[in-house]
């Protein structure tokens, strides 16, 4: 099945389409016409279904209703399970700090099922393994049945390797790509009608923030793009992380499209944001949900050498354009979504949002984005202030986590 459900069909107010010609215009000109769609913001203090489900239902209604998007469709949902399931911030469950909470996933699945989705596929490329996602999340103390039973025809697939497909799907970047012209991905990213990114609201050591777009860095199978990827052909099973995208010290398996410019900077702070924009352009996001109910400050996971602290912003954000929703989420985090390299949270890296805006994916200009629900000023959780105070202190020693 080919992904033939475009954002244009669904978004009533999408003003512009991504095209190869888009990058040819001036940056300001492109930014001015980059799509702007409503973003829903809601307070949600707990992960209890009684609070979560009606809150999410209301948010989807504010966006025009889930039915228009998912009815009769196969929905693929990329969740965020970064790092091994055996690492926590202190003693806290992973979902309270850096994994997308299973109740948010289950609530989304439940509402999509109720809205008429015919098949719902939960996708992730878990760290260095070809094990089923169900097995992976059991190690995090999750119960897969909580998600599988939230609607009819729900299934998981590990997309870190070939998986259940017979071949990798070649997904082309419409504008030609910053780093890669196309990607070889697990079939699940092509064999869907609707693609959803459910992310966690976090800072990120390499990309400044990780929201709905950065979540899609994990689309890349490590059999092709990982440290242990095959040289000529993909390896059978994934090994290690995505070091080759971070560092550019080698290319992906030769069977896959290669990097456009091998003389481009080999710095992860340049490469990762651009690769993310290439990915979300090759595999457009139709719906993004950001879990900011409970999360962490200081980085994307327990392995980051910062003063990592749990945080409870009590927020959910949803939208149909990933740049728009990430811009609103950045503002909710106390950051300026118009920030560029050199300004927090992009002190060392390029802004994924700006690069995506330049590529015509969506605007990051808050004045053009309609916010439904709670106003940003009322819902803000000051990641930026915490970051400033944290960075004024010495870097802490990391504990023993293996």
């Amino acid at each position: 099945m080919y992904c033939n459900y475009t954002r244009r069909k669904w978004l009533s107010n999408a003003a512009a389409a991504v095209s190869g010609a888009y990058l040819a215009g001036s940056r300001l000109g492109r930014a001015a016409v980059a799509p702007a769609t409503p973003v829903a913001v809601a307070r949600c203090k707990t992960y209890e279904a009684a609070e979560l489900v009606p809150t999410m239902q209301k948010m989807f209604d504010q966006l025009g209703g889930l039915g228009r998007l998912v009815k009769g469709k196969t929905v693929a949902i990329k969740i965020n399970l970064t790092g091994a399931p055996t690492y926590r911030i202190g003693h806290l469950p992973l979902e309270d700090t850096h994994y997308t909470h299973p109740h948010v996933i289950a609530a989304a699945v439940h509402l999509m099922g109720a809205a008429g989705a015919t098949r719902i596929r939960i996708l992730e490329s878990p760290w260095a393994t070809a094990d089923p996602v169900e097995e992976y999340i059991l190690r995090a103390n999750w119960e897969p049945r909580d998600i599988l039973s939230a609607a009819r025809n729900v299934e998981f697939e590990n997309t870190n390797y070939l998986g259940k497909g017979k071949k990798y799907s070649r997904m082309t970047v419409p504008y030609g790509g910053y780093m890669f012209p196309a990607f070889d991905l697990n079939h699940s990213y092509e064999d869907c009608d609707v693609f959803v990114s459910i992310a966690k609201m976090k800072e990120h050591a390499t990309a400044g923030v990780t929201l709905s777009m950065k979540n899609c860095f994990g689309l890349t199978p490590c059999t092709v793009y990982g440290t242990g990827a095959g040289v000529d052909e993909p390896s059978l099973i994934p090994k290690g992380g995505r070091g080759l995208i971070h560092a550019g010290n080698r290319g992906p398996s030769k069977s896959a499209p290669q990097e456009k410019d091998p003389s481009s900077p080999r710095e992860d702070t340049y490469r990762v944001p651009r690769t993310v924009v290439d990915l979300i352009s090759a595999r457009p996001i139709h719906l993004a949900i950001i879990d900011g109910i409970k999360t962490m400050t200081g980085g994307e996971g327990p392995w980051i050498r910062e003063d990592l602290q749990p945080a409870a912003p009590g927020l959910l954000v949803a939208g149909t354009n990933p740049v728009n929703i990430d811009a609103v989420s950045m503002a909710l985090m106390g950051f300026d979504p118009m920030a560029d390299r050199g300004t927090p949270p992009f002190e060392r890296c390029d802004s994924t949002l700006r690069l995506a805006e330049d590529a015509g994916v969506g605007t990051r200009d808050l004045s053009r984005i309609e916010v439904a629900g709670v106003a940003i000023s009322e819902a803000k959780f000051d990641f930026a202030g915490i970051r400033k105070r944290r960075r004024a202190l010495p870097v802490p020693a990391i504990g023993i986590r293996g």
């Binding site: 091994a84 055996t86 059991l138 103390n141 023993i400 986590r401």
Partner: protein, 403 residues
């Protein structure tokens, strides 16, 4: 398995019997002293002090000697794992369990000397003692030359390491009953562990332990106790004898799983759904259970160990760690199943600062112990079918005593 004694290999440099003062009052009650006249006074005074005397590398009566390796994180070569990958841990636990299964009436002693370039520390020696003690065996305490010289000279740093090592040995000596507890397990490994099957079956045990799987060793010549297991692995190159085959198939029909090599022969039951097939195994369903037959003769124990963990499912993990780093565990229960102990081993050069562990089972109370005493500040969460314990900063070994 029994554990009546705490053995120590007498350092070759300790020809002066005054070194026996170091042993005095400790749990060490069996000295393995090299032959030679230079040790005569040591032997004589040790015997007068009530200590048993043996010779290194010769198993005394009632003891099975296992040649082990120094336990810990393997540092040789370039690490292939990322910052959150699993480190490669060397442990003697599987050898102790195997020796105990093959020779259940004996004590199991492990001989393993510190490696070259060994940097003595209390933590390293604690791991040495606990890696055997946890599994019901005993490490034959063997000092590196530098520590032995430091102790002979009564250097404070050496004495501190010795004090901690002796405390660890005493900890296990005071809990001899634990050696008689039965391994809590989800999978049984059936083999004769000998001849053509020796290399594969033994490496399978080693790698299952590395994968965090808790298993019961079932020697083929004894009627296997399959009670409570979710799966059995039969990897031998010969077909099972008829009675054994019948018993295992009965176990499968009742809901268990069998993972077997092609030498098992034709498997009854029906072909399973294609989704249940793996690249290495053909799946069949039989009664309430299932059979996974390898497509080719058993070649790669690493693949078998890791695939079997997923086939059994992490749902049935006996022990799960968080923030443990390089971990190992052995979980055992008393015959009446009213008492249990989960031995937690952290093989890094210091213990974790915020580890959590989930122990499967219906337990009402838990106490955490280190060789230094009780851990007072644990937090406990009682789940439906497990108990989760949050530990503060702890050393490399913790015992969770369960009731």
């Amino acid at each position: 398995m029994t554990a009546p004694w705490t053995p120590m290999r007498w350092p070759a440099a300790w020809t002066d019997s005054s070194a026996l003062d170091l042993i005095k009052g400790s749990a060490i009650d069996y000295l393995l002293i090299e032959k030679g006249d230079q040790f005569e006074s040591v032997r004589t005074q040790a015997q007068q002090a009530g200590l048993r005397i043996g010779v290194p590398d010769e198993a005394p009566s009632g003891v099975t000697l296992v040649k082990g390796q120094w336990p810990g994180v393997r540092m040789a070569g370039r690490a292939s794992a990322g910052p959150t990958g699993d480190p490669w841990v060397d442990s003697n636990g599987w050898q102790i369990q195997l020796a105990g299964a093959l020779h259940p009436q004996t004590a199991v002693w492990v001989t393993a000397t510190p490696p070259q370039n060994f940097r003595a520390s209390a933590g390293a020696y604690l791991i040495g003692v606990a890696d055997s003690g946890a599994y019901g065996g005993r490490w034959v305490i063997s000092l590196d030359n530098q520590l032995a010289a430091g102790l002979a000279a009564r250097r404070p740093d050496a004495l501190e390491i010795w004090k901690r090592t002796v405390a660890a040995a005493s900890f296990f000596a005071q809990r001899k009953a634990w050696a008689g507890y039965s391994a809590a397990a989800v999978v049984g490994v059936i083999s004769d562990f000998a001849g053509d099957n020796e290399a594969f079956s033994r490496e399978l045990l080693n790698l299952l332990a590395r994968a965090g799987q808790h298993y019961r060793i079932l020697p083929k010549d004894k009627a296997p106790d399959l009670e409570g297991l979710r799966a059995v692995i039969y990897a031998d190159a010969q077909q099972p004898e008829a009675n054994l085959r019948k018993q295992i198939l009965g176990f499968v029909e009742a809901g268990g799983a069998l993972i077997a090599s092609p030498s098992w022969g034709a498997a009854p039951g029906a072909a399973a759904k294609p989704d249940d097939e793996g690249p290495l195994f053909v799946a069949r369903s039989l009664g309430k259970g299932r059979i996974a037959l390898a497509k080719t003769p058993a070649r790669d124990p690493y693949q078998w160990a890791n695939d079997s963990v997923v086939m059994v499912s992490h749902r049935y993990d006996m022990v799960r760690f968080w923030n443990g780093g390089a971990t190992g565990s052995f979980y055992a229960t008393s015959a009446d199943r009213k008492h249990g102990v989960a031995h937690l081993l952290f093989y890094a050069n210091r213990g974790p600062d915020a580890a959590s562990v989930r122990i499967a089972g219906h337990w009402k109370a838990v106490k955490a112990w280190t060789p230094d005493g009780p851990v007072e500040t644990i937090e406990t969460e009682y789940h439906q079918d497990a108990i989760e314990v949050h530990l503060p900063q702890v050393p490399q070994y913790v015992a969770l005593e369960l009731e």
